[in-house]
Amino acid sequence: VGVAAAQEAAKAPPGAVLYDVPADPTKEMGRALLEDGGYGTRSQFETEVRIKEDNPTDTTSWTFTPLAAMLGNLTPSGLHFERHHGGIPTIDPTHHNLFVHGMVAEAKKFSMADLKALPSVTRKHFIECSGNTLTEWKGVTAKNVQRTHGLLSTSEWTGVLFSTLARAVNLDPQADWVLAEGADAAVMTRSIPMDKLMRDGMIVYGQNGEALRPEQGYPLRLLLPGYEGNTHIKWLRRLQVSDKPFMTREETSKYSDLYSDGRAKLFTLEMDPKSVITFPSGEMKLPKPGHYEITGFAWTGRGRVQAVDISTDGGKTWAPARLDTQPEPQCTVRFSFPWHWDGSEAVLQSRCWDETGARQLTRGDLIEMRGVNSVYHYNAIQSWAVDAAGEVTNVQV
């Protein structure tokens, strides 16, 4: 790619390259292959991007996945939501090691080459920030589903099970907790229960068939299926095995849930059942009465989604939605529901259950249980109002 091409590329939407658009593509030879250098880009007509929260500094901030624009179940790696506490580090994988020490018989380090040579697993899981939807606790705030629910993304992850490393270091059977530490400027740390790590914890280096993206922890991150996003330590460099949690700033000052009695819960790690309608959703407009396919995502940190229901009358009556993908453990599903809009006002809602029987709460029940100061784990049923003009807005009922 030369400078001229790069200048031209600068005019295209992020992730795309601009090409001339022929009047009739069947009458003109298309562009030759490998003009892209061997790594393709998205179409110049696709313009959806992550948007960022307006924080004082963009090195501790977050970006939202454009959920309403997602086609299918996976999130394209370039649109995976982000949360950074010390910016995105640039790490040379040939100098990166994972240290595993503490309550182990043989403290070990693993180079990236070591890790890639070990038996691997490949599994599809969502990651959701436990701060997803936090703006909605005290009332309607965000205008569209990218802002209300966009701290959620789904990928195919590839890496080594924690249990594989546990064998290699000869884990002390008394060990109960593991500190995971990142190599970013925040040197991010979280304490993870041993039960979780031994059940399905993964040390992943692959995302959607290729190496992790830099924003997702290149070259290595922790993947804890269904756990709140902050625990999936990115740029993972160290696992310190212990018999107690470390009570890091992230898990005390930040990711703890304040109840209305002034006391807080620590280590609320599993993400609760949740679903959201992405079409139609806030800031959209239905052009005219008629048939519409309501679609959206449902997910749960506790296993598989069992079922999704839809209401078009603000929760008075419910009917089952179709599940359009096969439920997998700790993975989003797509749902849909055929709806005839007669042109009158409607309030659209979805709710889900998971295979453990846990259900997504009404806003009333959630607040009765948790108050409005929890910050994290807001999983109330989302309501979208459709007015007689077809305008769709965020409401709470």
Binding site: P56, R167, A168, A186, T189, R238, T252, S253, W353, G357
Partner: protein, 165 residues
């Protein structure tokens, strides 16, 4: 060759500069610092983001570090080191690893003890003439130490079971 051959032993210097300081203090490093030392250091390294009075400066992202006691059950809870943090070791651990935000990881252990002493003093937790080292830090009792539920709970009435309609 089974799992025992995977990876390689950790060398003596491999973990240099990597640590985490859990409650109990057993892991805390040598060194010490006083409130007075901390006041100066704080003024140089922290105040431009967290404010001279530790009141926070929203435009920098620097949080308010003191105040808020008694607010947690109110409509407007104010969470600070003083009002919310259960363990003083966490303050040492966090400042050492991640602060100052504009030059992370640049403080010595002595400096972190001093700055921690200063913050805890301004939070009304340590007296003006206090000094902190590993032993003293582990003794600090934070105002909100008992402000947390002992563990996670299941609210079966609301969260479990299929709805009626």
């Amino acid at each position: 060759e089974g799992a025992e051959s995977w990876g390689s032993p950790i060398g003596p210097d491999d973990l240099k500069g990597m640590a985490a300081y859990a409650p109990g203090g057993g892991d805390l490093p040598a060194g010490s610092g006083t409130v007075a030392q901390g006041r100066d250091l704080y003024g140089e390294r922290c105040a431009h983001c967290h404010g001279e009075e530790l009141e926070g400066i929203p435009e920098t992202g620097g949080a308010k570090l003191v105040g808020g006691r008694g607010s947690l059950a109110s409509d407007k809870p104010v969470k600070t080191v003083e009002s919310y943090w259960p363990h003083a070791e966490t303050l040492f651990d966090y400042v050492k690893r991640a602060m100052p935000f504009d030059d992370p990881g640049s403080l010595t252990d002595d400096e972190v003890y001093a700055i921690s002493a200063f913050i805890l003093n301004r939070g009304g937790i340590l007296p003006e003439d206090a000094a902190l080292d590993a032993g003293a830090l582990a003794q600090v009792k934070m105002p909100n130490a008992d402000g947390f539920y002992p563990g996670d709970t299941y609210d079966l009435r609301l969260s479990w079971g299929r709805a009626d309609n």
